[in-house]
Structures are given as C-alpha cells and as structure tokens.
Symmetry: D2
Amino acid sequence: MNPNFKRIVKLFQKLPGVGPRQAARFVLALMEKPDAELQDLGKAIQNLRKEISFCPDCFNISDPPADEAGNHLCMVCSNSKRDQGKILVVEKVTDLDSVEKTGLYNGLYHVLGGAINPLDGAMPDNLKIKELASRVGDMVKKNNQVELIIATNPNTPGETTSLYLKDLFQNKKGVSITRLGRGLASGSNLEYTDELTLKHALEYRK
Amino acid sequence: MNPNFKRIVKLFQKLPGVGPRQAARFVLALMEKPDAELQDLGKAIQNLRKEISFCPDCFNISDPPADEAGNHLCMVCSNSKRDQGKILVVEKVTDLDSVEKTGLYNGLYHVLGGAINPLDGAMPDNLKIKELASRVGDMVKKNNQVELIIATNPNTPGETTSLYLKDLFQNKKGVSITRLGRGLASGSNLEYTDELTLKHALEYRK
Amino acid sequence: MNPNFKRIVKLFQKLPGVGPRQAARFVLALMEKPDAELQDLGKAIQNLRKEISFCPDCFNISDPPADEAGNHLCMVCSNSKRDQGKILVVEKVTDLDSVEKTGLYNGLYHVLGGAINPLDGAMPDNLKIKELASRVGDMVKKNNQVELIIATNPNTPGETTSLYLKDLFQNKKGVSITRLGRGLASGSNLEYTDELTLKHALEYRK
Amino acid sequence: MNPNFKRIVKLFQKLPGVGPRQAARFVLALMEKPDAELQDLGKAIQNLRKEISFCPDCFNISDPPADEAGNHLCMVCSNSKRDQGKILVVEKVTDLDSVEKTGLYNGLYHVLGGAINPLDGAMPDNLKIKELASRVGDMVKKNNQVELIIATNPNTPGETTSLYLKDLFQNKKGVSITRLGRGLASGSNLEYTDELTLKHALEYRK
C-alpha cells in the first residue's frame, strides 16, 4: 500500500471502533464520492468545534458555541416545559439520546462524560460531578423536592459511579435518589437469565 | 439410511429442539456406549412415570409418585422452613430451577405448566390456575397476608398470563401481587437497550 | 431436585453435546408424552444393538446385524450400481450422510470412526485403517485403478489423518489419491476469508 | 438534537455501513480530540483526490496522481520482480489486499471495481473489463503464455462475472484461465458444510 493511503487510513482508525480494514473501506468509498461531498465532510470536521458545542448546563450536544453569558443551552435545558424537578444522570450523550427516543421521560438530564473506572484512570474529578452537585443544589432551591435518577450503565464502572453518587447525595435535603429498574429485559426468557439479573429482578419486583 | 435407523432417529426427534441431524448423532453416539448404559437409559425412560412425578401442590418435580393421601410433596413444599407467605408463579419447572439456583428466594413456588397463548390453544383452563387460586386461598387463611410473585416470562404469552393473574387476584383480600422487576439486564448497555426495556427501566426505577 | 430426577437427567447428559439444562428439558418433555411413546423410545434404546449395526465393509450404518457370513451390507455397499473404482474416506457416518445428500457422488465410502488425534489418544490403530488398506487392495485387484478420495475434516486431526493416509497409499500400485477441494466456501467473501483458506484457494485453483 | 449536529452526523452516514448511531458516536468522539487531529483528518478528506489515486494499469491504490505519461504505477505494477505472466482479477482493492497479505502470490492484479449485478445496474461496461482485455493482450505479446486467475467472490454477482470473463477469454490464444479453488474452508466441518460447497469440494478435489 502506498504511504499516503496508509497515512489517511491511520487517521480514520482514530474513530471509535474502527480498525484498519474498515478504515481502508471508508477511504476507498470516499474516493468514489463527488468532490463536493469530500469538501463538505472535510470542512465539517475542521470546523467541528465552531459548529457544535456542549450545553453549559447538562453537557448534552448544543447549538452553536455558548457565549460568555452561557446562553445557547441544549434543546432539553432550554425547554421550560420539561419537569424541572427531575434530573436523569447518564454517562454519555448517546445514552441521553436512547432515553429521549423513548419519549417517556420529560425531566432534565446530566451527562457525566463517562463513568468511574480506576483502571482507565477515570476518577470522579474527570466527570461532571461537581457541576451535577451545584445544579442539584439550585434545583432544590427552586423545587424543594428533586428526583435524581441514576441511569449509569449496569456494568462495573456504571455501578461504581452509581454507588459514588448515592453516597454523595443521600443526605442532601430535598433530594430523592432513584436508579433505573434492573431485571428482565423484554423478550428475554427466565430459564436463560443469568443469576445476577434474576437477583435484581427479585429485588426490583413490585 | 436403513429403515431401523431411520425409525429410531425419528423417535429421538420427539425430544424438544432435536432435529434429524442431532437425533442421528444421538443414535450413533449411543451405539458406541457399553450395553449397560443403553439398558439403564432405556429402562429409565420406560419407567419414567413410576420414578418421577409432579408435586401435587406446586407441580414441581417430586419424589416417587404421590400416594392417594397426596404425600410426597416436592422438596420445596415439604420444607417447613420456606416462607409460607410467599408464592412465586412460574411457567415451567426449568424456570423454577433458575430462580432456586440463585438461592435468594425462600418462599414457595407454583408451576403453571405453560402460559396463556391463544394461538397455540393454550387457554387458562389448560394451566394450573384453579389450583393456584385454591392454594392462595389456603395460604391467606393461614398467613392473613400472602405475596403472589408473578414470574412468567417477559414475552407475549407470559405478559398475557401476568395480566390474567393480576386480574384474578387483585381484589382477593390478603393477597399482594408483585411482578419480577423489569429493566436493564446486568452487563447490558443503555445505548443499545431497546425502547420497551428502557420504558420498563423507567417505570421500575426505585 | 429429587434424586430420581437427578439420576435420569444424568443419563441423558451422556448424549453428545447435552448439558444438564437440556437434559432436564428432555426429561420434563418426556413426562408430557403418552406412555406408548416412552415405551417405544425406551425399548428402541435397549435393543439398539439388535436393531442397528455397522456395515462390515465400510462401517456405515447397516440393516439388522450382519450374520457370520457377513451379509447385510449397508445400502451403498450392497448397491452394485455404485462405482466400484472410487472410495471416499470420511471420519464419521454423519459425514457420509452429508456427502450422500448432495447426490453427486456415486462411488463407495469408508468410515474411519474418527481421526488421528494423539491428544485424545486416538491413534491409527483405533481407526478402521487396516480394513481400508485390505479393501483398497481388493478393489485394485478387481478394477486395476482405484481413486481414494480423502474427505477427512479440514482441521488438525483431519489433516493429520489425511497425511497419514497419503503416506500409506501413495506408492500402492493402481491407487490414485485425491483430497476434497479446499478453498472459498459458497457465499463467502474474499475480503473476509482467512489467510489459510486463501492459501488453499490459490493452490486448488483450476 | 440540534441541526448542526444532525447535519454532520448525516455526512458521516455516507461512509459505508455507518448508521445514525455509529455516525453520532464518531462525531462525539471527534469532539474529544485535539483540534490538530480534526484539522489533519478534515484536510486529508478534502485533498483525498490529490493525495491518492488509482493505478492506471490495475486500478489498485497508487501514489500521487499519475501524470499524463501515466507514471506512478501502484507498488505491484511498478515491481518488475512480480511474475508478468500471471494476472489475478478481483472485484475490489480490499480483495487485492487480502490476497497480497497472504504473501503467496507474486503475479499481477486487476481490480474490476465491482461485479456484474443487473439488479444494481452494474453491467460489464461499468467494470474495468475492456482495460483487462487490452492488458491481457499486451501480456500475451510479451509472455506468450498468461494465466488469468479469476478471484471474484463466490456469490451470485461474482460467479456471473466469472462466467462472463471465462466466456470472453476462453478462446484467446496464449491465455489459460483458472478460478480460485472452491471447497472446504479451513477449520470447517464436513458434517455442517452446505451442499453447494460440498459439490465444489468434490469437483475441485485433487
């Protein structure tokens, strides 16, 4: 393979979960596209920071960069119709999307930007937990009563983060902590369900 | 293939989920076994009904056939240390096993023998629901308060059965109905969780 | 679980690839069957050796036990219309079936009863190789020219066996040795084919 | 989601096999990268056509654009040590890579740019077949004898293309046509091999 091709393939391998094979396919596919498409995609990537930013409140994806005044909230935070007494805490923006797609949650969100994972050196300080604490404080002032819904993933880092947050907020006046239900997934079968999930299904029964 | 072999392979295909290929493998494997093993397995199958029976109370697998007096309860029903105020309702004995293996449930069980599925002609009368009703009645007499834990599968027939049971028992004095928790399975990932499971995870949050 | 049930489940676990879960399902399913079916299956297993035997020539499944005279050949060996100048060597009767199902081979077969696998203590003497040698000798006498088609599996034991057979027969007068073609499987994709298979695809090109 | 984010995600969905979910992950991952990386990737995409081109002879990936003189052949075509009497015909550059990675082929390649597939409107004229014909003509002039190795995929479009090429070249003087071997893939099992593959394994035996 020639050096230029190799170099560009390597650049695409920086995309999450993309190996050399898929990266090569991407480059070859792009070579078949009209030049206009290449220009659009290339510019969009170069200007990414100017075109997209994170919501200064919940760290969801937001409209053009927030100005000093911190305007330009995301579409959830800027929607006063959302229940200001509920805040659902997720690890990543893509998790927020999944919950939002169900159309069943009308409260606010908070994106931590990951989960506590000492192995990866992801400690509480690397996550938006301080920001969450001050936000919840403000919400309690306004609403007296706030539900903090922990929606971190049901794996080790997610559970570690969940425990950390419960610890942090459990004695906060006016804050009730809940965790997304654990148990049987739709369409699963009791007979083939792992013990830990059955354990949770028994605990979360109601 | 010769007729005898074909015939015997067909007999093995009556085992659940066993197709012609696997059935042929079974027969060929048995031909390699010492004759004593063939005699043991053959006799065990012929005497199956004499050697195993179902518990007259919960329809779990039980010791040698119950006599007229209806003794010979299964190991759960005959264990007075089990919580007599809890009854967990499953579709099949194998579901009961899965829950029992967790070692986290110390109440009683009731095996329905399937789930309501009009398409298969499986109607309430085909299931041990009358028996459940009279059992729960007796339990209330003894315990005043009984928890009926519905543990049918989270699929259409299981849900149909669950609704039917809730309907049947909801106004029964002294009976509180619960359903195994629904939501995120251990090790799953919020981002890839289907909407229905997320919906349940929100409902069952606590 | 009660001892009788446990014991019978254990008997079913002797079937190839059947674990405790599947074995339990088998037993529970049999308990739902009419007693006549249990008697049929049970008897068939007890009389397996009387009802089925292996062909004294090729060790394929055969009709009722061969008598001293060694009659009762399998349906292939007893069919004089099959090409008596071709012999395809497989590991197991189920492999013979797969080839026979294609309807594209009209020669004879020879079932080795496994493959050479020192780790499992499966040595040449445990396989029907001596029998193959004398058979091929007789075939050459009758046909002058015999094609020995090696159809052992394309895995380590199968390849070991293939090498052993090539070694054994390569200098035998009138014997031409062939190996089933190696290369791309139907519906596969060059891009995702492993190197070893591509190597064979290049070697076997024609 | 905000319009800019949506728009950029859509651009990434133009990459082969990338759906909205993965595209969103790509954009979010890029937002975490240092700006330098965004600039590199963006520029590389915008200048793709200047930095990479296809070999004017075999249509493999090549070094900077070929000039009028048609220099800048790919690394295979420009390597005089490669066997000039062999040409292996593939559908895509990624197929060429797979074969090249085996290190077992030292001839030339020809990338058709796809396969004949009337359903997709991919007809012979859309493929580099004319170019192949004239190339093979030149090779025969130089080498008297040329082996044309057809390595299109073993699926319907690939087989259609293979038949078309055999038809086209079979009477060309000095051209011998071969096809990559078809049959059992390494590590596969005779018992579970589909009939068509077994059929090929019998045909390609040697």
